[in-house]
């Protein structure tokens, strides 16, 4: 168990920013921490990195308590805070050396680690520049390089791609995915495609509570009770929408049929089912017996946006 959070709470006055959340993360997992702004993502990450003390509950990293063995834990964790704070008057190499020293990298290893990080994060051309002169994308890489300089087992990244352009986002994502093969990565974001692109597990947090936890595929299956199937068929002129709809409804489990668009003889339908049953076989047989030509047939997955809104939007009302 790489990171183990149990019953973690944080109150600011009477407001409960984080309310008794528990989860475990294993090595090799990239956990996406998702939630609307102000849901408690940053507060949780600050407690994991020992920046803030919990009001209740515990965080253990590699079996060590974050509060009682704070210095040992901090050695195991690499942290990129929100907004990526940096010393703008230092140059990239100086800053990485400083970060390495403070992280306790041994003097003989500092230059090697620094060279590796400059290479991995693509900072070769910028390494002699002052951080203040760098663009936001390069600053983000410097922040990441500093967070990873001591080869931490756990990497905590608070909104690592905020403010980057699409190309840079793709680069940083693939960087995180590479790291995530061996390490434990916890990253927070409110950008949904980011989670879909990088994470193999997602925790959705809203108002300080975990509202969903699991691999994205599982969440998609569980949350949306039924499934959606889209079918496009070519039929004879005699088959009107109503006629076809009645036929499709005769398949058990189908709850709703709607016409999406009609293009001459081809019609596109969306079919919803009550439970998570696959109706594609029945649909295919139906079309064959009726003599309809199938042009397209696919299952539509509930998007993460739908899940997110379903879980967090309702509570906000």
């Amino acid at each position: 168990m790489s990171v183990s959070v149990s019953n973690l709470s944080k109150s600011y006055g009477t407001a409960r920013a984080v309310d008794a959340i528990s989860f475990d993360v294993h090595a090799g997992e990239i956990l996406g921490f998702l939630g609307p702004n102000g849901a408690g993502k940053t507060t949780t990450m600050r407690m994991i990195t020992s920046y803030l003390a919990p009001s209740g509950g515990t965080v253990r990293i590699e079996g060590r308590d974050v509060q009682r063995e704070s210095l040992e834990v901090r050695r195991l964790v690499g942290y990129l805070p929100e907004q990526n704070p940096l010393y703008l008057d230092m140059n990239v190499l100086e800053y990485l050396e400083y970060a390495a020293q403070l992280q306790g990298v041994s003097a003989s290893m500092i230059h090697q680690r620094r060279r590796e990080m400059v290479y991995v994060c693509g900072l070769q051309e910028m390494k002699h520049k002052d951080i203040g002169q760098l663009s936001k994308g390069y600053r983000q890489r410097v922040g990441l390089a500093a967070a990873m300089i001591h080869d931490p087992r756990v990497l905590v990244l608070d909104e690592p791609t905020s403010g980057l352009d699409p190309n840079q986002i793709v680069e940083i994502r693939s960087l995180i995915q590479n790291i995530g093969r061996e390490k434990t990565v916890i990253l927070s974001t409110h950008i949904l495609p980011e989670v879909q692109a990088t994470c193999n597990r997602v925790i959705i947090i809203n108002r300080g509570k975990i509202v969903a936890d699991g691999p994205i595929a599982v969440l998609q299956r569980n949350l949306h009770g039924g499934e959606k199937v889209v079918v496009e068929i070519e039929t004879g002129d005699a088959d009107t929408f109503d006629l076809i709809a009645v036929q499709i409804r005769s398949i058990p489990a189908v709850t709703a049929v709607s016409l999406q668009e009609q293009n001459g003889a081809s019609k596109r339908f969306t079919i919803e089912t009550g439970q998570a049953t696959d109706i594609r076989k029945e649909l295919f047989r139906l079309c064959v017996t009726r003599g309809w030509t199938i042009l397209e047939l696919h299952r539509e997955q509930t998007s993460l946006e739908d899940i997110f809104r379903q879980l967090t939007g309702g509570a906000a009302k």
């Binding site: 020992s50 040992e72 400083y98 500093a146």
Partner: protein
């Protein structure tokens, strides 16, 4: 306390003092003001003494110490780098001590050029070298107290102006304590006199090195730095 961590913080802060205009402005302005007082009085007094250096420096330090140190922690708080710093595996005490030593080093290099006054005066008259060494030792200690207090002032806020004013208020109060003694009963006066920075400084500046004065300075520095690191630790109190 970890020497390596303190040294890392120290090197970074010294570098940032001397890579920016801060160090040079502090040194030059201090020398101009002190030089003006020193040379204008020297021939009026007609004494071979460095009294002006020892009298003016604590007064100038009231402003210079808070000014030199005000950004040390408040700037990190404002820019968010404090969050990076305190989540590194180093104690809050190491951060404070490293920064304190860096500011004190800048102060040392500010005082250093005034040694040429010693050389000049000892050429044209006879100078009591023992008293001069005592005076410099006293200046280094007074400076250390002022800087330690200013580090605390910088730790409590993210606003550099507030840090400056808070530090100035504390050091000014300590500096003025023995100047209000006439108005107080002697029992209270004794306590205030012991707490006053100037009282201990005047002993050392005369060339008398008394353990009571050294204990006073050491405890003032220790207390200020301890409070400053407590401020950094406060976030971890549940």
């Amino acid at each position: 306390m970890n020497v390596h961590n303190i040294a890392s913080i120290f090197r970074k802060e010294v570098r940032s003092f001397f890579n920016s205009p801060v160090a040079y402005i502090v040194i030059v302005v201090y020398l101009i003001i002190l030089g003006w007082f020193f040379t204008s009085n020297l021939f009026i007094y007609n004494l071979s003494t460095l009294r002006t250096v020892f009298e003016m420096t604590p007064f100038l330090l009231l402003f210079f110490a808070p000014a030199m140190t005000m950004r040390l922690i408040s700037e990190e708080r404002k820019s968010g780098t404090l969050e990076l710093l305190v989540t590194k595996p180093i104690g809050e005490g190491d951060i404070i001590v490293g920064k304190f030593l860096a500011a004190w080093t800048l102060y040392f290099f500010t005082l250093l050029p005034t040694v040429c006054y010693y050389i000049t005066v000892s050429i044209i008259g006879s100078l009591d070298t023992g008293a001069v060494i005592g005076g410099y030792l006293g200046l280094l200690l007074v400076g250390a107290v002022f800087i330690a207090i200013s580090v605390f002032g910088s730790a409590v806020t993210e606003n550099q102006v507030v840090a400056f004013i808070v530090s100035l208020f504390i050091v000014f109060s300590l500096f003025m304590l023995d100047k209000i003694l006439f108005y107080l009963p002697s029992s209270v006066g004794m306590v205030l006199e012991y707490l006053s920075i100037d009282y201990h400084f005047s002993n050392i500046a005369r060339g008398v090195i008394d353990s009571r004065d050294l204990v006073y300075y050491a405890s003032a520095i220790g207390l200020a730095l301890r409070l400053a690191s407590a401020v950094l630790q406060k976030r971890r109190w549940a």
